[in-house]
Symmetry: C2
């Protein structure tokens, strides 16, 4: 049985809690950042009646618990140093995204991963929603032909955010935190490479959350002259029927596919008008990470973000943020 | 009664045919460009049983007919020189968009307009669709608070296009022809100024239409840190239920409004969930242009694109095209 520790309670630790089972035992949890509030994580563990020890300090936890796997989701600016430390300890690492918030840190995570044979993935869990699984499958099956243009959207309610969201160093920016999901979709679904990005962002109307950007857009140029836009906002009204309004519209040479309101709508030559595709069941990203570690499914996990995917989506997010910060086109080399 | 001539049959001459009435008499029509096919215009005139003379040459037509108003919609690269000639003859000009396809031509049209007191407007007729009228009214009424972010979409079926669409000089580019509608909405609805644009475009999969771009996206940064994206494609499948899929999503500090599938959906604090706004009746852009000429409605026509609007949307379209052509950020000064 694999032993897992959770470091931090600021991200999607629920992926781990929902992915526990006969193959994985949660053995410890601790904050990952100075002053990090992990009360919600502790409550979620208690709610599930899991008998798991809380630690004051994540390094001591790792020394004592000797886990095989860590899930890292502290203040986003601290992901990288903990990812590196855990990879250097020979642990499998399931990191919240972005896996680093600076280019230097990202290079260091990449280097730490290259130096080990352990598994590394990131919490791009929206891939596993039935509507994104169905969209991905339809594009890979050729339902819209060659992808030519994509428009992705992330829209969230702002609500009450932890204090560290107001601090760019701790938070990393909205393009990296919210936008990276959509940036990952672009690459995952189209299979194209990023060539350049121009992005813009604003912290106006952020309800006194310091530097927190609440509106942003990124224009990517990808390989094969594919263009892709990402629109990001925290301005979804409190009265809206759901927390998020995640979408993607993918225009191919032979059809158009759209994910919207938990549906996948397809128009192509196969039928007249738009039809809603049947949806598969939701899958567990953490369960697939465990598959990857155990070499289950022949060691290939089609939906799991590879380490390369995690690094590429993080790099693209940081380049988009750089573009917005510096108000210039940023190219990928 | 105002006398109107139509020059060219390559654009939205129907706005004029549908806007004729007691105040306006159509007195002549002619091609505006070398080799222009005006067969469809002639057929539309015959279908309406209008007794109107066809001319071989638009200059002779103007000499003979002595109209008060001209509608110009020939090959797009020729709009500017005819607009200029007509303004210099002291005529009111209702021009197809883009009103010019080069910066030099645009400057010359502006100068010709400055030198006259005649009316000038452009065929940004999608403003007059009930859903765009309703969206504009809701934003101006403050339903979503201050505009922060916009995503506009133009998607058309390619179908069979006239041969001149394949020639960049005659056609002017897809960002200018198709995109300029959406670019006009951004300014019209938000009231913000354009500050910069980065755009990208591709002619791949254009079904042997020469240089015709069939996918493009523009990222505008506007005043007050407003961001706005425009997505353009000619890849709507032939089996789709409508020719176009025009949309705009406008995110404000206090609500989100969306035009999609001939509906206007609003989410704000006023009610739970999204509600569809009631739609006004469609209006006639050419009838409002006639109002403007005649000083009807006190001389103010709220929806009619002013000459300034027409020039600004054209300039922004040309700058976006320049950005895509030159692969660089283009600023507005």
């Amino acid at each position: 049985m694999l032993r897992v520790c959770i470091i931090g309670g600021s991200g999607h630790y629920r992926y781990v809690l929902e992915g526990l089972g006969e193959r994985v035992l949660l053995v410890g949890f601790a904050a990952g950042s100075d002053g990090e509030d992990i009360g919600k994580l502790a409550a979620a563990i208690a709610e599930r009646k899991l008998d798991v020890r809380a630690f004051e300090d994540w390094q001591s936890m790792l020394d004592i618990c000797q886990p095989d796997v860590v899930a890292v989701n502290c203040h986003f600016g601290d992901h990288a140093c903990i990812n590196i430390a855990c990879l250097q300890r020979g642990l499998h690492v399931f990191s919240e995204k972005p896996v680093a918030t600076t280019f230097e840190d990202l290079d260091a995570v990449r280097a730490a991963h290259r130096a080990t044979d352990k598994c590394f993935s990131a919490m791009f869990g929206i891939r596993y929603k039935p509507w994104f699984l169905a969209a991905h499958a339809a594009v890979k099956a050729g339902e819209i032909g060659e992808v030519r243009l994509m428009q992705a959207q992330k829209s969230y309610k702002l609500g009450a955010r932890p204090a560290f969201f107001a601090d760019r160093d701790a938070y990393g920016g909205t393009i990296a935190w919210v936008g990276s999901h959509a940036i990952d979709w672009l690459r995952w679904i189209s299979g194209e490479r990023f060539e350049s990005v121009f992005a813009t962002q604003s912290a106006r109307h952020n309800n006194h959350n310091g530097m927190l950007e609440v509106s942003a857009q990124c224009q990517f140029t990808m390989s094969n002259e594919v263009c892709a836009s990402v629109s990001i906002d925290y301005l979804r009204p409190p009265t809206a029927p759901s927390h998020d309004d995640d979408r993607i519209r993918i225009v191919g040479a032979e059809g158009v596919l759209e994910v919207r309101e938990k549906q996948v709508l397809l128009i192509n030559g196969g039928a007249s008008g738009a039809r809603a595709l049947p949806l598969p069941v939701e899958r567990s990203i953490f369960a697939e990470f465990v598959d990857e570690i155990l070499g289950a499914n022949g060691g290939t996990n089609f939906f799991l973000p590879s380490a390369g995917d995690a690094f590429a989506a993080t790099e693209a997010s940081l380049k988009a943020r750089q573009s917005a910060d510096e108000y210039r086109l940023v190219e990928f080399r």
